[in-house]
Amino acid sequence: MTVQELPGAGASHRSTPPPAWRPRTDAAPLLPDPEPYRVLGTGAADRLDPVLMRRCYAELVRGRRYNAQATALTRQGRLAVYPSTVGQEACEIAAALVLEERDWLFPSYRDTLAAVARGLDPVQALTLLRGDWHTGYDPRELRIAPLSTPLATQLPHAVGLAHAARLRGDDVVALAMVGDGGTSEGDFHEAMNFAAVWQAPVVFLVQNNGFAISVPLAKQSAAPTLAHKAVGYGMPGRLVDGNDVAAMHEVLSEAVRRARAGGGPTLVEAVTYRMEAHTNADDATRYRGDAEVEAWKAHDPVALLERELTARGILDEEGVRVEREAAEEMAAALREAMNADPVLDPMDLFAHVYAEQTGRLREQAALLRAELEAEGE
């Protein structure tokens, strides 16, 4: 028997249609614009706030220098690894600047720069990558969650934290960062769904930098854009030029404002490009050509803002020089601090596993202490 022959299967057998579930949300306003939103180089730039843009410029220059310095430190063996955000600085800086002090940032392993722009000590931010401890700072101090290495797993944390804050009556927003590859992980989907169902004050920022290590976006997702993914969960998706710090700031600010006002979560896809290799362990020439990288150079986030601000008289040569010098000073301090060997206490290995050490760990700690004493003799 085919479906057609089943009694009741054809529409003609139905006197009344079955009760249907109605969608909770009208999908149309949730859909992203077809093109990434831009401000720099367009008419929208007329309404730029010069003070804010000067601040963004300073942070971008510092961020670029930080990336260069950290990459140099990996070459010198001072860092085990550093995932560079050269080319993506506008995303990192905007993410940090749109948050209030009481808000929380949930960075991924690549987002050291966002944490530093939020105020984290540049040296502390690198302990994970240097290898002296996993998270070198107290997350509660600046409200920066530990940099998450397992992809997308920090997204549900952001949802839970934002939800908890709202339950407690605090108007706290959580901004969580993830890469394009990370959007394929189950935790990404679970977090989006929880956030939408709970109307949690969360902003998800996807940095679509073209690749997950070597895998291009086309092999990662068949969606029209990653921002479209939001619609199925019942939250707005926004597509923005990730190299345009003014556009990033505007879109993220709007999402934060909406979240804080009880409007629920937003998914923001920043279209950007990773200029350097995934990390120093990666050979980018195996999966992409020079022409592609060259084409993106013309769209450099620092140069883009510099051009706009200079044309508008907000920035002059002196201003550029001042910011570059400040960035050099930061880099020199970072270099010096990272060149000092960290003093480590091996007994720390047992100190933070449980609130109260188990008998097993006490025994193992005693073993290590004896070994250390024997070495010292």
């Binding site: 401890w133 996993h134 998270t135 070198g136 700072y137 107290d138 997350p139 509660r140 969650a145 530990p146 290495t149 397992p150 797993t153 920090q154 997204l155 549900p156 944390h157 952001a158 949802v159 839970g160 934290l161 934002a162 939800h163 908890a164 804050a165 339950l167 407690r168 706290v172 959580a174 189950g186 935790d187 989907h189 679970e190 977090a191 769904n193 929880f194 169902v197 720390d348 100190a351 933070h352 596993v353 449980y354 609130a355 109260e356 188990t358 008998g359 097993r360």
Partner: protein, 342 residues
């Protein structure tokens, strides 16, 4: 808040009435929620329905849906959200619907829940309780009867407890919720409806997490067990009297931390030991316990430490599970093998 080592005791001692383990668990959450507004219960079907085993029955009604929340159906999402909630100062109590449905949450459990204290050098403890109904013997179909404790005990940073009595169900759950560390709270689902005289108004003082208890004293050998296998071991111990064996039964109650001293003290006295649990033997908790006993009691042992465990197979279909689960006869046969002759 610190880890409480004993449960609260009320002043008056009202009359004890028969109560089930399920009721004691519900009461534990209710009392914890009433005392501490940061305690939140969450999971699949825990609200209106009260959970598929009704363990959260009435909590949503009494405390509202914000305190006892029906979440979307996504275990990683549930546990991941609980991490964020704990980061903001709440004490989430998460229900995983069944043992084998907790596996999607293992990434969150292992990479984040178990490690957050450690990776932040102690700055960010996570007081999360993860309730997992576990084990077989209820005729459940596939994926409803796993004994998954070996995965949990192999993960540093997790505390793993499992009650076997009505009193412990209350006491250990209160202690777990009060703990500043994440606790995997394994609920032997086939004991949910086991009854005992118990008064919720005056829960007896039970030892906290990390303490094993001698449930039956004996002189000729020690049975070491926990959770669903405790009643089986006690029955076996009774039956063994006819064979001339006077068995001691130790209930571990807490797998991590493991109360080695109580076990060692007992085995040194009896000179013989059998470890009994439902989960598979290879790489199971019994292997670890047997190794520790061998290390610390070698000269007191009259026979090798033996184990009675589930077979090393995927959990069998319900009509065959009786062959898999350690039963009285298999325990008695094993005890007989302790009559060791070189």
């Amino acid at each position: 808040m610190t880890t409480s080592t004993t449960t609260p005791v009320a002043a008056a001692v009202p009359r004890a009435k028969p109560a089930t383990m399920a009721q004691a668990l519900t009461r534990a959450m209710r009392d914890a929620m009433a005392e501490d507004p940061t305690v939140h219960v969450m999971g699949e079907d825990v609200g209106t329905l009260g959970g598929v085993f009704r363990i959260t029955d009435g909590l949503a009604k009494e405390f509202g849906e914000d305190r006892c929340t029906d979440t979307p159906l996504a275990e990683a999402g549930i546990l991941g959200a609980a991490v964020g909630m704990a980061m903001y100062g709440l004490r989430p109590v998460v229900e995983m619907q069944f043992d084998a449905f907790a596996y999607p949450a293992f990434e969150q459990l292992i990479s984040h829940v178990a490690k957050m204290r450690n990776r932040t050098r102690g700055a960010m403890p996570l007081p999360i309780t993860i309730r997992v109904p576990y084990g077989g013997g209820i005729g459940g179909v596939e994926h409803h009867s796993d004994s998954s404790e070996a995965y949990y005990v192999a993960t540093p940073g997790l505390t793993v407890v499992t009650p076997a009595t009505v009193e412990d169900a209350y006491g250990l759950l209160r202690a777990s919720i009060a703990s500043d560390d994440p606790v995997v709270f394994l609920e032997p689902k086939r004991l949910y409806w086991a009854k005992a005289d118990w008064s919720p108004e005056a829960p007896a003082r039970v030892p906290g997490i990390g303490t094993a208890l001698v449930r039956r004293s004996g002189a000729s050998a020690t049975l070491i067990t926990y959770g669903p296998s405790l009643p089986v071991c006690l029955e076996a111990a009774e039956a063994a009297r006819e064979e001339g064996w006077d068995l001691e039964v130790v209930d571990l109650r807490s797998l991590v931390p493991f109360d080695e001293d109580t076990v060692v003290e007992s085995v040194r006295r009896t000179g013989r030991a059998v470890v009994v649990h439902e989960s598979g033997g290879f790489g199971g908790p019994g292997a670890e316990i047997a190794a520790r006993i061998t290390e610390r009691c070698f000269h007191h042992l009259e026979a090798p430490v033996l184990r009675v465990t589930g077979f090393d197979i995927p959990y069998p279909p319900p009509m065959l599970e009786k062959h898999h689960l350690p039963g009285v006869d298999r325990i008695l046969d094993t005890v007989a093998r302790l009559q060791w002759e070189n």
